[in-house]
């Protein structure tokens, strides 16, 4: 799995976007991602947790324990200020990339043509 070096990118960016709305635990993130992407992103836990822990080691998310039904304790994740900044940067890059792809796919007159 590639390390999240210079920015969230890809799945990391999506996880940060989820956490920007509210703190979540792992299973909740998988379900939210699946619902919001209309079943396109169906992460397995084995992909999610290494990615979450990578984001935590990079200081973009932090974790804490909270109660769960049946006297269990759940690990929740929260985005940090550094994570929010990284998310905004990556969103800008992604929007620029998406606009560029859309421009090529939808065609259009070349300048000077």
């Amino acid at each position: 799995m590639p390390r999240e070096k210079h920015g969230p990118g890809g799945l990391g960016m999506l996880l940060l976007a989820l956490l920007a709305g509210q703190d979540m635990y792992g299973y909740q993130m998988i379900e939210a991602l699946r619902l919001r992407s209309n079943q396109v992103f169906a992460l397995k836990a084995g992909t999610l947790y290494p990615l979450l822990h990578t984001l935590e080691q990079q200081g973009w998310v932090s974790s804490y324990d909270d109660g769960a039904p049946g006297s269990r304790v759940r690990r929740y994740y929260r985005i940090t200020p550094q994570g929010r900044a990284a998310l905004e940067e990556q969103k800008s890059e992604w929007n620029a990339y998406a606009d560029a792809v859309r421009g090529v796919l939808e065609g259009g007159a070349l300048c000077g043509a």
Binding site: G46, D66, A68
Partner: protein, 457 residues
């Protein structure tokens, strides 16, 4: 039966995670996830056996998951710092051959370096979070024993700085370089909150820093006090005393400034005489060494030494003037290279310290780095004739004598251990949510999204 499926899966994952401490909380998190997934499948009408099997299947390949988690949750070595240290040691050994000092003893130097590197390796591989947890309560006793042993050595056999190098007092003096580490270990237990607790640190620092004055070793006092002040500053910055940073910093730095000013005024005559000697060595016979070193410094070109042999003869006999000795032969490039190495080592370590996750680890790392840095800088300034503290400690990792080298290597070992164990270091149990936090829910609607924020009771 369904529990067996889950147990088997978790066992397979756990087998790939080598560190026991990480394995415990990682498997707990995966177990919680399986329970949530299983609950959903049960709600969909699956039988318990099917729900457990489907939940485990959704987790992915256990070996791949375990290996990936092991990669993230294991000690990580900073090889650039290790290689830098080894390089410095090697260069130091080579350069000692050029000093021609009468006191240099090659076998003793190799012994000191060997013991130092072994000690560094042993400390490097330690599980410092566990040692810190178990050893914190022994900090006051360790410090008391050190003080008593040192006082006994100094008072029962009074020594001056020119006395035998192997004297017990000198060995114990070097052990005082670990006092900032003891201080950081004590602070990491968070001895209290608020201004009174912070102000209590001042007499503790003074006690730790002033004991070497029995030797006397003012440069050690200065190094210890400055290191502990900076460690305490880091503690306040990280919120250890639950104070506003401005209040905490004022409470840390104002009392020492006032104390120092009062002390200087009380002994104004003595300080005035010492500083006059330092500032104008040519007017005072006691300033001969300052005068020699500064005339040497002024006569050097970048890559060429000086032929004023009679003036630098004294340098050959004093191993604590190794840089000046080498510069007299090779030029001022020796001073520039030494400064570059000191600053580069500090930069490499400081950059890593600032990125550490563990607050206690950061304190310990600063407590190990500052004494090494101040030792190096004071040695450099002393060799240039620019330090009012006329005696210097050995140049870390380079200078001569096992007694002075081994503590430097052990402090470097502490740094490497903190860096290595950071991904596994935890400040006790995971934090829990104690106060109600606002929640947000974002519900997709045909025309957009409905965003709701609420606070749970």
């Amino acid at each position: 039966m369904e529990r067996d499926v889950i147990r088997t899966y978790l066992h397979s994952v756990g087998r790939e995670i080598r560190w026991g401490r990480a394995r415990t909380y990682l498997l707990r998190e995966l177990s919680d996830h399986i329970a949530d997934q299983e609950g959903d499948f049960l709600d969909q009408g699956l039988s318990p056996e099917e729900a457990a099997a489907r939940a485990v299947e959704e987790m992915g390949d256990p070996v791949a998951v375990g290996r990936e988690l092991d990669r993230l949750h294991r000690p990580q070595t900073r090889w650039e710092i290790v290689l830098f240290l080894v390089g410095i040691v090697f260069v130091g050994l080579v350069l000692h051959g050029f000093t021609n000092s009468h006191f240099y003893n090659g076998p003793e130097q190799y012994l000191g370096i060997s013991l130092g590197l072994l000690g560094m390796g042993a400390v490097w591989l330690c599980d410092y979070p566990r040692l810190l947890r178990k050893g914190r309560r022994w900090v006051p006793l360790c410090f008391l024993l050190l003080v008593l042993a040192f006082a006994a050595a100094c008072l029962t056999a009074p020594l001056s700085r020119s006395a035998l190098p192997g004297a017990p007092g000198r060995w114990l003096l070097y052990l005082f370089l670990f006092v900032p580490l003891l201080f950081a270990a004590w602070l990491s237990a968070r001895p209290g909150r608020g201004l009174p607790s912070l102000l209590l640190c001042h007499p503790v620092m003074l006690l730790g820093a002033l004991v070497p004055a029995l030797f006397p070793a003012l440069e050690v006092c200065a190094i210890l006090y400055a290191s502990m002040l900076l460690v305490l500053t880091a503690a306040v910055w990280q919120g250890f005393f639950s104070l506003k940073r401005r209040t905490g910093l004022l409470a840390i730095w104002v009392p020492p400034c006032l104390l120092t000013g009062a002390f200087c005024l009380r002994h104004a005559a003595l300080f005035s005489q010492r500083f006059q000697t330092f500032l104008h060595p040519d007017r005072d016979g006691a300033g001969y060494l300052y005068a020699t070193l500064r005339s040497l410094r002024d006569s050097l070109s970048l890559f060429q030494g000086t032929d004023t042999g009679y003036r630098v003869t004294a340098l050959y006999h004093d191993i604590s003037l190794m840089l000046a000795n080498l510069a007299s032969r090779m030029g001022s490039v020796v001073f520039w290279a030494a400064l570059l190495c000191i600053l580069l080592f500090f930069f490499l370590c400081a950059r890593r310290i600032l990125a550490l996750q563990s607050a206690s680890g950061r304190l310990l790392a600063w407590a190990a780095l500052w004494p090494l840095f101040f030792q190096g800088i004071l040695y450099w300034l002393g060799n240039l004739g620019c330090s009012p503290l006329s005696n210097v400690l050995p140049l870390p990792f380079v200078s001569y004598a096992p007694a002075g080298q081994i503590p430097s290597f052990l402090l470097a070992g502490v740094l490497l251990s903190v860096f290595r164990m950071d991904t596994l270091a935890r400040e006790g149990p995971f934090p829990t949510r104690l106060t109600p936090r606002s929640h947000a829910a974002s519900i997709p609607l045909p025309g957009g999204r409905l965003h709701i924020e609420y606070r749970a009771n």
